[in-house]
Amino acid sequence: MATEVKELKWIGKRPIRPDGVDKVTGRAKFGADLTLPGMLVGKVLRSPHAHARIKSIDTTKARALAGVKAVVTSADLPELASEWVPAGELQINFRDLSSNILARQKVFYDGHAVAAVAATSAALAKQALALIEVDYEVLPHVIDVVAAMQPEAPLLHDDLFTEGVTPTPETPSNIAKRVEFARGDLEAGFAQADAVVERDYTTKPVHQGYIEPHAVVASTSEDGQSEVWCSTQGQFSVRFYIAKLLSMEISQIRVTPSEIGGGFGGKTTVYLEPLAVLLSRQTGRPVKMVMTRAEVFRATGPTSGAALSVKIGATKDGTVTAAEATLRYQAGAFPGSPVQPGAMCAFAPYAFETFKVVGYDVVVNRPKVAAYRAPGSPIAAFGVESALDELAKRLEIDPLALREKNAAREGTHAAYGPRYGPIGFVETLQAVREHPHYQAPLGPNQGRGIASGFWFNIGGESCAMLNVAEDGTVVVVSGNPDIGGSRASLAMMAAEVLGIDFERVRIIVGDTSTIGYTFLTGGSRVTFATGMAVVQAAEDVVRQLRERAAKVWEISADAVIWEDGQAHPAGANAGEFEPLSLRDIAAEAGKTGGPICGNASLNAQGAGPGFGTHICDVEVDKETGRVTILRYTAVQDAGRAVHPSYVEGQLQGGAAQGIGWALNEEYVYDEDGRLQNPGFLDYRVPVASDLPMIEAVIVEVPNPNHPYGVRGVGEVPIVPPMAAVANAIENAIGVRMCDLPMSPPRLLAAIDNGG
């Protein structure tokens, strides 16, 4: 493997990130930072009801207000047919996306957009919203997934007939889809088991919690060309969605991604962007729209809340004989929860021979869910990894040993279909076993839990461009907004291939017109797929450099090799020449054939599946129900850590978000389906003082499909924490928590009830 033979200069080092200085000095420009001359302010009117029919919308008074330049409703958006297209890790239906951006006949959740205005000031825009008269007929609503599945539940869409069951039902329901993955004879499998654990679990919808709210500026000129600046994980997706939603040609739209203040999957879709373009088109002026935090909570996608049932049986020696799971995921107002990936991931870490997973995608009166780190997987893992822990206890086996016994390895026929190539799950378990944390002593009311997790990681389409400047420095253009330090790792790969100093490589994120189509930043794909494109583009540059040197030396390009940032004659036969550096060749580029520019475009295949195992120690205050995370170690196979600090950062960030999900984050809805806690004060993400230093341990089992062995790393780390925390609590005080979040009042109630 390339990684083992070659001595690497940059891969695995920790240089300072290219975006670091601007971020710590406050110079970095985020979504809301752009201001254009003549710019208007756009604002959205949102539904106060969880479910209602819109009888009429009267915008006359708002339009009459001086300073108001445009008011739009769904009547201004073209009607689209139902059409599913892949969108990152989830699927998107343009008809639904359009209705989510501006409600059509009905509003489906508290905060659903019904109209938008553009005015000369924020105060006027706000005043205008108050002048829009919407006549609602309030309908019964449902926000709980199990309740929504009942035949008598209030129906959201009267044209929704469950997919995936034959025959297709004749009556509509809130169940959009049923999926199933199964193998073997379940009944026989459970009959062989010496112990069976069967439990129901629930998880709450949780928000990605990115610090930067959605923000956009759009400017449309008289000839219909639109420029858009926004905070997004995918400028090309934004361009495509706007084109679809507003019936425009793709090339009429140019989208520039700003610096991004967090996304975690939540910025792979659009909310404001098409509205800003529409308002700008109607007014002929630039329009800026920025969400408030309350809008972010009320109207943008969290991940699903869910109700799960998990049953796992094993023989005395810990061999799992059968496993079954039923997953019911909230999709929010429109179909499209991550239940399918959840079902695929549920048993993915294990070599179970007999299993069945059934998943239901269920619409409820909540905001449409969006991708959130490893969409669907953490929810399923909470159930499966909790059940395995209980099973281990029942069998009196070390929970780690139970996982080792059943772990998937290279060659295992994965529960979701393919056979695994080289994977590092077992290596993560081994690293846990060998880590001092696993054996460290615990005090009273303290406990330790472990849990594992899986994510596919994806590849996909990417372009990269490398331009060699006259002085031999290099500018890399990538098409992926950088949300996890990818500029650093891409530039490092370019420096590695070119054999030059990292400081001589500058990297920017291009807009949709400066770089070729690149699929969005999601699925932990960037360092793998776009990294591969950067490597190929750099190799393209190297080829050209060798040709230029050959030209200077008047020998054949085959007789030139590139080593340590210099062209050398391949051997004695090639002749004797002083090596030519990148700087030398760049200076003469005009004379040897013109500027040097490397390009690559590819559709990366062979992403490396990712596995992680976490160890969590807690202390439980039995009188208040409060849980303190004492120590936390996250182990993960990174394939190859290009920049270990940013891999560690991903592991720490994922674990921190998972701990919030486990302990405190939840949406509180009142009886009318109105969100009561749309803010960070009462939607409780953990703060620094709630967390210990999370230790990140990187295991490296290279992915053979990437030049440096890279796997994605950004998503796996949010998968194990919920079960790791629940297992630790059980270990501490013998109380098994099956419902999230395990907040102090809930845990205290469970302690009162004797678990």
Partner: protein, 332 residues
């Protein structure tokens, strides 16, 4: 973030000037650090004021002075300064603990003692956006006629959640108030009414100039709060205890609680608990006192019952620790 309404900003440098401007501008609000007031104004809570009177430029209001027996704290002293002050840390540790537990570092750098004592009461149905409150027909505390926490109630149950008040109440806190008649002092407990809506007993133009704490010899005091997060979190319940030992008996006991009632509760009838040792029987009587005097209303996302119970747990622990001479130190 929502828009701030327009207002005039007035910056008096003496209490007299502040009072004069206060009298001239009946529709003004007092500005400490603004960490509560500005949030509320942005949300359209309360009438938009014509003027904000900034109390931070008045020298006498920014001073901490005193000794181990008594401490005068200007109302415009920042919480960060209070928490870090050597005198406070040495002799009034409960006060330092309370100040250090407010919000997070950024708020404490701005927030003032006066603002914390006069902090508006809080409720699920009140600390919400204009839009949210409108779609819920507002509430008894502001703009509406119905209390959503207790629909038949004529009084508002919005909860007082300041951290400093209990710590000062157990140290015989006394406030100095500026008003039409000049300066007057009053026990801190009297600063508060019993209604979450008009939660202060101040006259329209009055404001707090300073607060004084006292520490009798041998008195041990501490503050602790229960919260879900360790920072950026109002107290689900906060408890201050000050006690003195008389040999192996409890000689004096004062207990105050925040986060449960519309006012910071200075527990009544604690004297009856004194004179014996601290054992389980005493603690059960203590529990009963707390249960009788603390409310359990659903004004936050954490149920009132949980908050009251947690307050009881904290109170017991503090009493035990202080009685046993625990690590929290003595006030002298």
């Amino acid at each position: 973030m929502e828009l701030l309404p327009p207002f005039e900003l007035l910056r008096p440098t003496t209490v007299e000037q502040a009072l004069a401007w206060r009298l001239e501008n009946p529709n003004s609000r007092l500005l400490g650090g603004g960490t509560d007031l500005i949030v509320n104004l942005r949300r359209g809570i309360g009438e938009a004021p014509q003027a904000l009177i900034d109390l931070n430029q008045i020298d006498e209001m920014t001073v901490i002075a005193g000794d181990g027996a008594a401490l005068r704290i200007g109302a415009s002293v920042k919480l960060a300064a209070l928490a870090a002050h050597p005198l406070v840390r040495a002799h009034y540790p409960g006060l330092a603990q309370a100040a250090a537990s407010v919000a997070a570092a950024t708020q404490r750098n701005m927030a003032t003692v006066g603002g914390n004592l006069c902090l508006d009461t809080r409720c699920i149905f009140y600390n919400q956006s204009e839009w949210w409150r409108a779609s819920n027909d507002y509430c008894l505390k502001y703009g509406g006629s119905k209390c959503h926490v207790a629909p038949k109630s004529k009084v508002c149950y919005a909860t007082f959640s300041g951290d400093l008040a209990p710590a000062l109440l157990v140290l015989e806190g006394e406030v100095e108030i500026i008003g039409r008649g000049g300066r007057r002092t009053a026990p801190l407990a009297e600063l508060y009414s019993r209604d979450g809506r008009d939660y202060l007993s101040l006259a329209r133009e009055e404001f707090v100039c300073s607060v004084t704490a006292r520490a009798a010899p041998g008195l041990r005091a501490a503050y602790d709060k229960i919260r879900v997060r360790r920072a950026i979190e109002f107290p689900l319940a906060g408890v201050a205890v000050a006690l003195a030992r008389d040999g192996d008996k409890l000689g004096a006991l004062r207990v105050a609680v925040t986060g449960t009632n519309p006012w910071p509760v200075l527990l009544e009838e604690t004297a009856a608990l004194c004179g014996g040792g601290v054992d389980e029987a005493l603690l059960q009587r203590f529990d009963a006192l707390l249960k009788a005097q603390l409310m359990a209303m659903k004004t936050t996302f954490t149920s009132g019952h949980y908050r009251r119970r947690a307050a009881t747990v904290l109170a017991r622990r503090l009493v035990r620790r202080l009685f046993d001479g625990g690590y929290m130190g003595e006030t002298r």
